[in-house]
Amino acid sequence: MSFIDILRAEFRLEYNDMFRRKSVLLMLILYPYLFTLFTLFIGYAGGSPGVFIEKFGLNPIVYLITSSYILMSILASIDVLLWRPLYDSENGTLIYIISSPVNRLKYYIALPFPRYTELILMGATSILPVYMYYYGLEGVLLSLLMITLITAGCVVMVPFAIFIAGVCHRVGESWRIINIVRPIVMILMGVYYPRFYIPLIGYVIGSLIPSSFIVEIIQRTLLRLESNTYLLLAVAFTLFFLYLPASAWSIKAWEAKKVKEGVKIS
């Protein structure tokens, strides 16, 4: 069973769904801006952008659009894995997936990849114009670097997300658990508030999330802070491989529980 065939099938599913459901396409473009506007609104209520620039040496709009893009990208990749089994269950497709001989780890790894390509496109509509406005031609190169790093951040997140999804789905009414898990992951990843500024305990727990290292690289690059980029990348990819067996176990355990209870027809 070829990973490429599964990947191709997932791409067709995702892209047909997106282009035949125009609202999804529109939201994909608008979301980073909506997030930024919302955060700026909250920020302006509490202080001026001057304070932010003085403190961090960076325009808040650049910082927030980048943070929103990171958040959208990495959380979207987790979301695919967290919500897809629920969607398939509701859609009546889960029984056919579970009764198929498809290699589960390959299947779940393939699931979020089509979304990544959309997120690259999203980078072109969100951070690219903003960076170009503030940094000119250098902004194009910077946004390409950011898109590459964020894509890497999404990829290293996959086994961890599969692991979390498997654990969540073992619990009844897993969508409630998912709604609690998402914001916790968001905070610990340090997307809006850099994790190198949060208390040590938060930093340690956040270090269990592979993408948090790449988020740190992005933030240090933006804030022009010293960064051991290669080490952080190495740790992120090491965690990717370390979570693979855990993710395989997690899917197996979830499916075993599902089959014990009986996979619902719909």
Binding site: S2, R8, N16, I95, Y96, V263, I265
Partner: protein, 329 residues
């Protein structure tokens, strides 16, 4: 060649939790399958026939590796459904729902391509197979290969669902109520194909239904299942022969009151159904109709009812089912 399906004393009890007030809940245990055993060969259609809640879907789910049995064993294509689930999955084609189970924003062909990838079919083979199935099930004539699934009629959904079950050309097909709610042409098409698959392509098909007519015309062997127990099995003819030699008197009556009253003194089992305002259909199961028919008609006429039609019939499969599920007719 070993048997396609071998089921040995499988049981399944569901634990059903029901809420009672805000904090209290109670647990009930429902025995869905109570130690059933049967076998199915290649090249034949075995039907699980029973009412809703009889245990048909539970049995299919166990054989499709979607549910673990509590006890007993089941083998599909020679593989144990618990220990060798992935091997079983390679050898079955499954159709569990008619109205759901595909992606709404994909058309029929794209949906089949998606599942072909999950079934591990190489792309070139999958495309050829899909072309063949689209033609075989006349999905192209209905436009279902290009229409989005969310725009499908129930008949188109059922055909697409059967196409998926046939996609990997598995030797064993598990079809759960494949014609449920379908219009007659679609139902007929599916029945024809199922018979063809079994007898021309030597597939083993386990087919569940609660439709007596369908079981009689589609299946080679019928397992009557009720409340989780197989109460009888055999070919439709064998099953009819097994019940005591009773015949059915079928009367159509234009009644001027309750038609049951004058028939009270006849102790045979009877069923009285109101068809229209004053028209009733009465069925009576009797050993020797020629001895009592005159008396029955006389009793009805004397009570002011008009007997419109009288027929004496052999028992149908429905009568057989009632006999086995209720003990007597």
């Amino acid at each position: 060649m070993s048997r396609a399906i071998e089921v040995e004393k499988i049981t399944k009890t569901y634990r059903v939790k029901s809420r009672r007030g805000l904090f209290k809940s109670s647990v009930e245990f429902v025995e869905a399958v109570k130690g059933i055993s049967f076998t199915a060969n290649y090249g034949s259609i075995v039907c699980l026939l029973g009412p809703n809640g009889a245990g048909k879907t539970t049995t299919i789910k166990i054989l499709a590796t979607l549910l673990l049995p509590d006890s007993g064993s089941a083998r599909v294509a020679g593989y144990d459904v618990v220990e060798e689930a992935s091997k079983v999955r390679e050898n079955i084609g499954l159709m569990l729902t008619v109205e759901k189970g595909f992606y709404g924003k994909l058309n029929g062909r794209e949906n089949l391509e998606y599942f072909a990838a999950l079934y591990g079919l190489p792309r070139s083979i999958a495309l050829k197979r899909i072309d063949h199935l689209v033609k075989l099930l006349e999905l192209d004539k209905l436009g279902a290969d290009r229409k989005l699934y969310e725009e499908f009629s129930l008949g188109m959904k059922a055909r697409l669902s059967l196409a998926r079950a046939l996609l990997k050309d598995a030797p064993i097909l598990l079809l759960d109520e494949p014609t449920l709610g379908l219009d007659p042409p679609s139902a007929r098409k599916i029945r024809e194909l199922v018979r063809d698959m079994a007898h021309r392509e030597n597939k083993s098909i386990l087919y569940t239904t609660h439709n007596m007519f369908e079981a009689e015309i589609v299946c080679d062997r019928i397992l009557l299942i009720n409340k989780g127990v197989i109460v009888a099995e055999g070919s439709p003819e064998e099953l009819k022969d097994k019940i005591p030699k009773l015949k059915v008197i079928n009367l159509v009556i234009k009644a001027s009151g309750d038609p049951g009253k004058p028939l009270e003194r006849f102790t045979f089992r009877k069923e009285i159904k109101q068809e229209e305002n004053s028209v009733f259909n009465v069925k009576m199961y009797v050993p020797k109709p020629e001895e009592v028919l005159g008396e029955i008609v006389k009793a009805l006429v004397n009570s002011g009812h008009e007997v419109v039609n009288v027929r004496v019939e052999e028992p149908s499969l429905e009568d057989v089912f009632i006999y086995y599920s209720e003990g007597s007719i």
